[in-house]
């Protein structure tokens, strides 16, 4: 298939006519090629599912800037969808991928995002089996948005719901926290990112390897929007148990700390796009940590929190600070706005 991408997106590229056809066959198919997609039928007819419970998720991606250090909107859209399935205990299989493009969007940007999508799909071992393209008039959108759905299967016997969380469980972070959020905020505010880059990556390989090591993961979440603050507060609420973080054990890169100091942001509120938080039984803590660290995507994993007691009238999530005090950790309210000084 010949690969051709227009210089600029025209409204006609979303018309369903000749230009749309050229965009699909010239840009999308060469990158995302697989037999199911190539049939270009109205619906993807999938093989029978492997045994287990099907898991279905959907997500929208509107990141600004759409190309950032360590990834792009396309790459992110596949990772985000795959990771939502993987942290639910599912093995991701197929994704759908719809683009909403703004009239006048740069063809090179679209190419980069399509290539990112293909790369992430290959890394995660999934297929993009259906797609759609719409073009909205200039000013009605911001260059490129993506919407996905993802289908996977939770193998028989696997359960990672929050109700399995027990008193004494430890919480493992698969790597340094906040890299993605800090990268985006730094580039949005013109700080330059230096060697800082997004952690964006598919996590299904890492997570499968930990299951294969025989670890009984009680629950898992990927701390995307709202970061660790949101995940921990939601988990505490759903499980009815308190979560206590140890500040000195939280893995954070110095560059991320610096971005947060300059912009006045809360580190634990930053989004991660290639990290998983896993609740594991205390007696498996060391083995679980070793299993994470054995995989390239988990080599900097760390135990940073524990589950202790029920909420009752207590603050659900607290942090023992490095100076020996304790403070509550609440979700962010609204967007985390940079401080004045």
């Amino acid at each position: 298939m010949r690969k051709t991408t227009p210089d600029r997106l025209l409204l006609g590229h979303g018309s369903g006519g000749r230009l749309t056809h050229e965009l699909v066959t010239g840009t999308f198919l060469p990158a995302l090629d697989n037999p199911i997609l190539a049939s270009l039928s109205d619906a993807a007819i999938l093989p029978e599912l492997p045994p287990g419970r099907p898991a279905l998720t959907t997500d929208g991606f509107v990141v600004d800037p759409p190309i950032f250090a360590g990834g792009d909107l396309g790459y992110l859209s596949v990772c985000g969808t795959v990771n939502d399935l993987a942290v639910a205990g599912a093995r991701p299989l197929w994704l759908t991928w719809a683009l909403i493009l703004e009239e006048g969007a740069d063809g090179a940007l679209i190419s980069t995002c399509v290539e990112g999508t293909a790369r992430a799909a290959a890394e995660a071992g999934i297929q993009i089996v259906a797609g759609d393209t719409k073009v909205v008039p200039r000013g009605k959108g911001d260059r490129i948005y993506a919407v996905t759905a993802g289908l996977g299967v939770v193998p028989p016997g696997r359960d990672t719901s929050d109700t399995r969380i027990q008193d004494g469980d430890v919480v493992i972070a698969s790597g340094p926290l906040g890299d993605h959020g800090a990268t985006i905020m730094a580039s949005r505010h013109g700080l330059g990112t230096g060697d800082l880059k997004s952690c964006c990556a598919p996590l299904n390989g890492l997570i499968e390897s930990v299951f294969e090591a025989g670890i009984d993961i009680h629950s898992m979440h990927d701390p995307t929007r709202g970061g660790v603050l949101t995940v921990c507060n939601e988990v505490a609420e759903r499980s009815g148990r308190r979560i206590i973080l140890t500040e000195t054990a939280i893995p954070v890169r110095p560059q991320v700390r610096a971005v947060c100091e300059v912009l006045g942001l809360e580190i634990l509120g930053l989004a991660c796009e290639g990290r998983v938080l896993a609740w594991v039984p205390r007696d498996q803590a060391e083995r679980a940590l070793a299993a994470f660290r054995q995989h390239p995507d988990g080599r900097d994993a760390a135990i940073f929190a524990r589950v202790e007691g029920t909420i009752g009238g207590e603050i659900p999530v607290v942090m023992e600070t490095e100076v020996g005090s304790t403070r509550p950790l609440d979700m962010l309210s609204g967007s985390d706005l940079p401080r004045i000084c």
Partner: protein, 368 residues
């Protein structure tokens, strides 16, 4: 960028706490210390320092959060400007959620008003350059720390003849409200933790009047936990000995006279004016107004219709800002007034006293 690790060392902090406990016992009465810098408010709360102090030491927050002291009529004016034809308002992010008399910038933005969040005044100038057919008004708030960058943007606009770049002057300076605080009969402050960032610009000598005219000691401190605790210990020692001087404990960046280059550019554009502080009312010489020769850049001279200023009912921000009460003593704190739905300005910025208490100190607060 990052601080020396010894400033966050738990053992060093523990030693300072022991020292503080000892002096506090020797003094034998309750001592009230005030910090007057939003970043201190945030740092104290984020490290949970208040709960580590002995009961004989009360650490309170003063009017150090620029968002919190910005009066409601300033926001009313900003909103009225955004409603004018061909006018865009640019603002620092944390003003967005501050309630005005009838709305907020965030709400007006959602309703389609041309309001843009910028990270620096220069970004606002860029908006003006990119939109030559629009008048771009930057909401100039903050203390001595933001004034130089605002002046620099004005200088650039002057040099470039970017005639469509204006500011709504709202900058404030720190020493005058501190004089008001030490003269406040209702409030007895035994010592001040002086603002580290402001002092980098102004130098520490401008705070000498506290010691010389009012016999109240002060300590200029940085923002790491050990910085703050060293300041507390220093002030307690001064109180114990009956001393009153300004100690510069942040000498790694603060000099006696500050940054003269910054002072010069601020002076070129601004002059001291009386201005309104939420909770204090008007304080002479506490604001920075544009000099008359730059009237063409002064958006406060544009005629707009303003609603009668309306402070939220039951909000005790004023008393919080003056250190008369702690946030949990306000009836709205944590109930009607929360970071997601702030009633008063102190609940908006993470530097705001109420927001910092809500986010970091409810373990020890009375509302949990």
């Amino acid at each position: 960028m990052s601080e020396a690790p010894e400033l966050r060392n738990p053992r060093a902090i523990a030693a300072l706490i022991r020292e503080i406990r000892g002096v506090s016992e020797t003094i034998g009465r309750k001592i009230t210390l005030m910090e007057v810098c939003g970043t201190h408010t945030h740092a104290v709360a984020a490290a949970g320092l208040r709960q580590m102090l002995p009961p004989g030491v009360r650490l309170i927050s003063g009017p150090g959060c620029p968002v919190c002291v910005t009066p409601v009529d300033y926001l009313d004016r900003a909103l009225a400007l955004a409603a004018l034809d061909t006018t865009t308002v640019c603002t620092f992010g944390d003003l967005m959620r501050v309630p005005s008399s009838r709305s907020s910038l965030e709400r007006a933005h959602a309703e389609g008003q041309p309001i843009e969040i910028v990270y620096s005044p220069r970004d606002a100038l860029q908006v003006a350059r990119d939109n030559p057919d629009r008048r771009v008004v930057f909401l100039a708030v903050g203390f001595e720390t933001t004034a130089p960058t605002i002046a620099a943007a004005l200088a650039e606009a002057e040099a470039d003849k970017a005639e469509n770049f204006l500011i709504l002057p709202g900058n404030k300076v720190m020493p005058p409200p501190m004089r008001a605080l030490v003269e406040d009969q209702e409030l007895k402050v035994d010592g001040f933790l002086l603002p580290g960032h402001v002092s980098v610009l102004t130098g520490w000598e401008c705070f000498r009047f506290l010691a010389e005219d009012y016999s109240v000691p002060g300590a200029v401190v940085g923002f790491a936990p050990a910085d703050v605790m060293r300041g507390v210990a220093n002030l307690l020692h001064q109180v114990e000995k009956g001393n009153a001087e300004i100690a510069n404990l942040y000498s790694r960046v603060v000099s006696p006279h500050g940054n003269q280059v910054a002072a010069k550019i601020v002076e070129r554009f601004f002059e001291p004016v009386a201005t309104n502080w939420r909770g204090f009312g008007e304080i002479p010489g506490s604001g920075l107004g544009l000099r008359p020769e730059f009237a063409h850049r002064d958006a406060s001279l544009i005629e707009v219709e303003l609603p009668p200023p309306h402070e939220p009912v039951g909000c005790a921000c004023g008393d919080v800002l003056r250190g008369v009460i702690d946030p949990p003593e306000c009836a709205l704190f944590g109930t009607a007034c929360q970071p997601a739905t702030p009633v008063g300005a102190c609940m908006v910025s993470s530097e705001g006293t109420c927001a910092a208490w809500y986010r970091h100190e409810r373990l020890t607060g009375t509302t949990t």
